[in-house]
Structures are given as structure tokens and as C-alpha cells.
Symmetry: C2
Subunit: 327 residues, 2 copies
């Protein structure tokens, strides 16, 4: 159980587990130490991955997902972590927690392994269409995240595009780039980057719309799968290859650990007035514990307060003023 | 020189080489057999990668790129292959060759390695914004390419989106999906696919707009680079790992060959009334020969005639009729 791993890692954390009480109690039965830091809240309903968002919002009030989010809303819990339906989790979180002042739309962010270390990328699918303002807000949220939670000094921000030159791309990215260049935000805007810059680690924060971000991150998943599959059959293809694998195994294990998707599990919903983290549905206890870790990190570092502070520095609605100035 | 490799592979092909005559002659001097099937056409100007498209179009008439495209326009050459500025090559090709009847905008397509074999993907960057009509036309061109040039029987078409469900995505993909579903085109429309389906080889033809396609393909390039780099340092990290590499080397070489970007070199500009293929600027002779091979394949299989035929079957402007019907 992910919570049991997280309990050892974060002894300061108590857990509120929402769901079918009988099942949860029977699981906790064998983990006495975890049980001692857990409160169980029974829910009759479960939102399934197939549920439409509208349906989830209607039937949702008795669901485990709603109870968990509601506990964040009323201050009982510092954050919610769920491996359930992403769309429903986002819709319910928006409805219950609302967005932060100055943020029009929350974005889904994740940490990714790169050649240089790790980067943050957003939006990974919350908003299929974004205007320049949305992209600028994502840039600010990503920057604050990289700085406060990820601990980077002066992180660099890149805007994903089809070329590095100023003339490239559609209106929204050109306008967002102009705003980020012209405005006196205390952030280091690198400019446009291309798809290959993501894994290269050219910037610390990759900003894009939810359509492109989702396709890009899933393309990366697919290519990783292709590589793993091809390597695994190559190492099985002959006796000498098998022997070679055995000798190189420790070194290869380090590569696998470095890019283990479970290590990067836990997509953050940035821009909400509360902490919500989405775990991959197919992860294991180790992966889920990491998603809990993401929520703990955000709470410990007071991420949302820092976003509000950052946006306050900008004064009254400065982005739209600035947008008018460059349009 | 790529042409010399291509000459051996395609003995039926003659070459018209446009560029600095002195340099070309001195290169050909050491390749007598190639020289015997080459015509050299001198050009004073070169379009550089940094040239703006507008500038290229103005100064272009004396450039090697223009001379090569013009030879296709006037029927002297069956196709043009260039490793130059992509934007300029597309703009000049559009200007000189025009688009095929029934095609509003050409798209850049490429063949990609997948778990199941190979797929075709388009648009990879010609059109940063696409409407439903463009996407439907890309689907038809991709299908004809997969069938006639790639030799697939009944290839499947997938529309790249952020989820497989009908409700997902922005208006253009939803509308394009409705058109492809409802229309009686003789194509096998699989429906929406996600980014991870590209490398999985879920469909034979991946259709998307040029912004998403470009970011996706470059994301894949970046991840491949990350994998190669991590594996290469892993194999160098200890004596046993080095030994392991030596033993597994032959098997690993097969993996490298399978996904060698040079094998997939040669992006096709589909939808032009003439054949134009873009080679990667950084490839070698082997890669460039493959780009020539792509142009030869398209010419041999009469790709453009088949597109025109396919679109004729649809009758008078059926896509917009159909679009009205589903909107």
C-alpha cells in the first residue's frame, strides 16, 4: 500500500482514506502502524474511469473522490491524492476548491527526467485550447513550482513551439512569448524551445497548451516503451547477448531507475486553491507513495501561497494590460 | 555522396544536380559512374537555413533550390530532394508546383519505426493551425501513401487526440473525426489515438496538425537521444558493463539499425502537384540516399495520380458538404 511507504517517508503526515470502509479496514488490518495514523471515511460511490465528467459531478457527492476533495476544501486535509478519473478529479477540484486569484485555468504539471536532470512541464492535458494569458499564467506557476518545491535557483522557462525563431508558431505562443519577454516578471524566460529540448533539459520549465503537452508526454511514453521492448528482445536474442545483459545488468538497472516512471508519478493540478495530485492509475505502491510525496512537498513548501504572492507583485491585472500593449 | 549510393540502388534514375558547378564537378570527378548519369546545373545563390521565407522567395530565382523545383515544374525532373531550409522548400514548392486539385494545403509526412513495424505520420510542421477539412485531406493523402507507396492493404487511420473518447479534444479533431466516420470514403478510420499509440503502431497512418505533429516527432527524437546517451554511459560505467556491451553488441546493433533515423530520412511534402522530399540537414550519404529513395518510390508508384483519383471518387466537394451535414 502506497500510504504505508509514504508513512515511513513522512512521519509527520496523517492520512484520511476515503472509500469502501470494509475493504480499507481489512487492508489496514495487516498494517497496524499505518492504521494508527489513518482516519477512514466511508463512501458508497466510486467514480470510474469511464464516467463522464458531467455524470461524475452529479452523482459525485457520495463518491470517495468527492469526500477527499471536500476534506481539502474544508481544511481537514492539506491535499488530495487520487489515482482515479483525471477529468473528474480536475472538474470536482475546480468546483470545490476554486482557482487561485489571478489564475483563470488550472494546469496539469509533472516532473520529467532529462539529460541534465529534471524539468517541470505543464499543461499536460487540462486545457485543450489555451490563449496567451493562460500560457503566461502556466509559466508563472511552473516557475514558482520549480523554485519553491523543486528548489531550483532562478529556473529557466521555455515555451514549446515548432521553431526557435520569433516568427514561428501560432498567435497564442507568439503573443505569450511577447508578454513574457516584455513584462518585468522576475522570471528567466529562455524563449521558444522545440520538442527535442524537453528531454535535452534545455530549460527547467516547459510551458505548452494541454493538447500539445498531452500528446508530447504520451509520445515520450510510447517511445520509452518501444526502446524497452526492443532492448529486452535484443538481450534475449542469443546466448552471448543474454550473457552480455547479465554483465551489464547493474549499469542498466541504474538507467532504468533514472527514468522509472514510478519515480515521476504524481501529476500536480497547479492553480487550484488547494493541493490536488493525480497518480497514474496503473502504478504500484512505490509509485503511489511518490504521488503522496508530491502533495506533501507542495504543502510543506506552501506552493499556493507563493503563487498568490508572485501574482500580487504584478499589481492589478498586469497581464491583460501587457497583452493590450503588445497586441 | 548520397546520389552515388542511390545510383546503385536505382539504376533507372538519372540525376540533375543543382548548385555550385565547380564544387559539384570536383566531387563527381572521383565518381565516374555517377557522373555518367548526372547533369549539373549551376546556381549562384544558396538559400541558407537562416533565410526568411519571404527573402528566399524573392532572391530565390537564382538559387539551387529554385532551379531544382523548377525542373520538377517543367517536367524535366520527376521529383526534387533537398536538405535545405524546410520552410523555403515548402514555400517555393507550393509556389512553383501548386497543390493538387482538392487539396487546400500540403502536409509534411514521414515514415516512423513502431513496435509493429512502420507507420506514416502527417502533418509534421507545414501547417501550425489546421481545420477539420485539412485534417480530413491529410487522412486521405496518408492513406493513399500507405497503400500505394508503402504497399499496405487497407491501412488504418488514426486521428491524434488527448483521449480515445468521442467527446475529447478541440473542435477541429472532433469535426474531422465526425467527417471521417460518416463519409463513405473507402478508408479504415480507427478513430482517435493518443501520443503513446504512435510508437506502439496502433494505426498505419497518424493524422494531426503541424504544430502537434512537429512537437510530437521532436519529442520522440529527444527521448531517443536521452536513451542513447544514458545507455552509452551505462555501458562505459564499469569494466563488467563494457564487457557486457561487447557480448551484446551484435544484438544491440540490430536495435540501432531498426530505429536508425537515417533509415527514415526523407520527409515527403504530400499534396503538391509534383514530388518534393526534404532530407534532414544533418544526415550523411546513406541518409540522403534514403531520401532520394522516398522520391523514387513516390514517382514509381504514381502517388500523386492516385491522390487525384481518390479525391475524384468523392465527387463534387464532398468534404464541405459532409462538414455541413455534421456541424
Amino acid at each position: 500500500m502506497g500510504a504505508d511507504i509514504a508513512r515511513k517517508r513522512f512521519p509527520q503526515v496523517d492520512f484520511l482514506i476515503c472509500g469502501d470502509e470494509n475493504r480499507i479496514r481489512s487492508l489496514l488490518g495487516s498494517m497496524k502502524e499505518l492504521e494508527s495514523v489513518c482516519t477512514v471515511r466511508h463512501a458508497d460511490q466510486v467514480i470510474s474511469d469511464e464516467d463522464k465528467i458531467s455524470h461524475a459531478l452529479r452523482k459525485g457527492q457520495n463518491s470517495s473522490m468527492w469526500l477527499a476533495i471536500d476534506a481539502v476544501r474544508n481544511g481537514e486535509a492539506a491535499g488530495v491524492v487520487s489515482a482515479g478519473n483525471t477529468g473528474a478529479l480536475m472538474a470536482m477540484s475546480k468546483m470545490a476548491l476554486k482557482t487561485l486569484p489571478g489564475i483563470d485555468r488550472p494546469a496539469i504539471a509533472s516532473i520529467l527526467p532529462t539529460l541534465r536532470g529534471e524539468s517541470v512541464m505543464l499543461d499536460l492535458g487540462a486545457n485543450v485550447q489555451c490563449d496567451a494569458q493562460n500560457l503566461v499564467q502556466f509559466a508563472i506557476m511552473g516557475e514558482v513550482f520549480a523554485r519553491t518545491v523543486h528548489g531550483l535557483v532562478n529556473p529557466t522557462i521555455g515555451l514549446l513551439n515548432v521553431g526557435a525563431e520569433n516568427l514561428k508558431g501560432h498567435e497564442a505562443v507568439k503573443m505569450a512569448s511577447a508578454i513574457l519577454r516584455e513584462t518585468d516578471l522576475p522570471i528567466r524566460f529562455h524563449g521558444f524551445i522545440e520538442g527535442n529540448d524537453i528531454a535535452a533539459g534545455t530549460v527547467d520549465v516547459v510551458v505548452t497548451d494541454g493538447f500539445t503537452g498531452n500528446v508530447s508526454i504520451k509520445t515520450a511514453e510510447g517511445i520509452s516503451g518501444l526502446f524497452s521492448e526492443l532492448l529486452s528482445s535484443a538481450f534475449k536474442s542469443s546466448f552471448t547477448a543474454k550473457l552480455g545483459y547479465l554483465l551489464a545488468r547493474n549499469a542498466l538497472k541504474k538507467v532504468r531507475t533514472r527514468i522509472d516512471p514510478r519515480r515521476y508519478n504524481g501529476a500536480m493540478f497547479l492553480g487550484l486553491n488547494g493541493i490536488a495530485v493525480k497518480s497514474h492509475g496503473g502504478t504500484d505502491a512505490f509509485g503511489f507513495a511518490n504521488a503522496i510525496g508530491v502533495a506533501v512537498d507542495m504543502a510543506v513548501h506552501g506552493f499556493n501561497d507563493k503563487i498568490i504572492e508572485e501574482l500580487k507583485h504584478l499589481g492589478e491585472d498586469p497581464l491583460s494590460v501587457r497583452q493590450a500593449a503588445v497586441s
